[in-house]
Symmetry: C2
Subunit: 196 residues, 2 copies
DNA sequence: GACAAATATTGACCACGGTCAATTTTAAAG
DNA sequence: CTTTAAAATTGACCGTGGTCAATATTTGTC
C-alpha cells in the first residue's frame, strides 16, 4: 500500500504540466524538449521522468485532458439524428487531433484499449467516445433514422475506424488542400449508417 | 540532371540492405541499430544515412519490398466473391503487418498517399492495394454479390479503414488472446459490403 | 596518363530521450 | 525534539539517431 503523494510532489507535477502545456501551445508539440521542460520548471530531468515515465506519458496526460474536454462538449450537445450530424458533433475533436500528427499517433497507440489500464486518461477517453457514439446510434436506430441490422457497438467502432482513416489520410497529403476531417468522413458515415 | 549511381554505391546499398534484413529477421525490428548495420556492412554510419536518409527510410525500403511481395501473391489468387473471401485474400498481408507494431506505424504513416511521392515504395504499395481491392469490388458488384450503391473506390478505402482499425486494436490488447486480424475484420466487412 | 569535376564515403561530433545510485526532504512514531 | 523510513529529487551518465565538413574514389575529357 503506497501513501498518498506529498504536497511538494503535487506542486512539482502541476508546475511541470503548466510549463509543458505552455511550450506546446506556443511552439507546438514537435518543439517540446524534456530537458527544457525540467529546466523551466526548476527541477532536474530525473524528476520529470519520475512523474510521467517518458515523453509519451507526459503528452498522454496533457492531451488526454484535452480530449476529455472535447468529450464534455460533445455530451453537452443535443444527440445527433443523422450521420451528417454525427460528423458535426465529432468535428471539434477531429480538428484538434488533425492539427498535429504527434497527437494523432499518440491517441492511435491507445485506441484499442477497451478495458484494463483504465488508469490511463486516454484509454478512458476512448471508452467514453465509443460509448457516447454507441448511445447516439442506439437512439437513431430506435427513431428509425439509420440501419438497425447491426449492433450499435459495432457501428460505433466502425465510426471510429473511419475517423482514424480520414485523419491518417489527411496527414499524408498535408501540403495539399486538406479538407476538414469531419467533412471527409461524410461519405463513409453515410455508406456505413444510412438505411438502404 | 544527375548521373546514374556508380557501381560501388549499388554494392554498398545492397550490402547494407542485406545486413539490415538479416538483423530484422533474426532479432526483430526493435533490435535494429543503425550503427550496427553500418559496422556489419563495413561502412561508416554516414554512408548508411546517405543511402536511406533516416532509419524510417531504411525500414520503408525493406518493408515496402515485402509488402509488394504480398501484393503479388494477392494478385495471383482468384478474385474473391464475398466479403469473407476478401478477408482471406488480405490475411497474409495483415498477419505480416500485425507481427510488429513498428511495421504497422511505418505503413500507416504513408497510408494516405494517393499520388505524388510515387518514388516511395510504400506509397506505390498502397495505391496498388486500393486499386486491387477496388477491382475486386467492381467485379463483385457486377456479379450482384455485394452492394452496388457506392463507388468501388470509396468501398475499397473503407476496407482499408477497417484494416487499419483491427490492426490498431490488436496492438493495444497485445498481451491477451489476439484473434487473427483477418477474422476480426469480418463483421466490419460484412456490415460494409453486404447487400441488405 | 594527367587533370578536373562529380560522386561516394568517412568518423568526429551533436541532440535528445531516458536511467539510476546517491542525496535531500517529508512526515509519522516515540 | 529525535529518530527513522518512505518519498522525492538530483545530475552525471549512457545509447542511439542523425549531421556535415573533410577526404577518398570514380568517371569523363583532352
Amino acid at each position: 500500500m503506497s501513501r498518498a503523494p506529498q504536497k511538494r510532489r503535487l506542486e512539482t507535477r502541476a508546475k511541470l504540466l503548466s510549463v509543458a502545456e505552455h511550450i506546446i501551445d506556443t511552439e507546438g508539440c514537435a518543439a517540446l524538449r524534456m530537458e527544457e521542460v525540467a529546466a523551466k520548471a526548476g527541477v532536474a530531468k530525473g524528476t520529470l521522468f519520475s512523474h510521467f515515465g517518458d515523453k509519451e506519458g507526459l503528452l498522454a496526460v496533457i492531451f488526454g485532458a484535452r480530449v476529455m474536454g472535447y468529450l464534455d462538449q460533445m455530451e453537452a450537445m443535443p444527440d445527433p439524428d443523422t450521420p451528417d450530424e454525427i460528423a458535426s458533433r465529432l468535428a471539434p475533436l477531429l480538428d484538434f487531433v488533425a492539427q498535429d500528427r504527434m497527437i494523432f499517433e499518440l491517441l492511435l497507440r491507445y485506441s484499442g484499449t477497451t478495458s484494463e489500464n483504465v488508469d490511463e486518461v486516454i484509454t478512458q477517453g476512448f471508452i467514453r467516445q465509443v460509448t457516447l457514439c454507441a448511445g447516439w446510434i442506439t437512439g437513431m436506430q430506435q427513431r428509425g433514422r439509420i440501419r438497425d441490422d447491426q449492433d450499435p457497438v459495432l457501428l460505433a467502432e466502425g465510426v471510429q475506424a473511419f475517423l482514424t482513416h480520414v485523419l491518417a489520410i489527411g496527414f499524408c497529403q498535408e501540403h495539399a488542400q486538406m479538407i476538414p476531417p469531419a467533412e471527409a468522413m461524410l461519405p463513409y458515415l453515410r455508406g456505413w449508417l444510412d438505411i438502404r
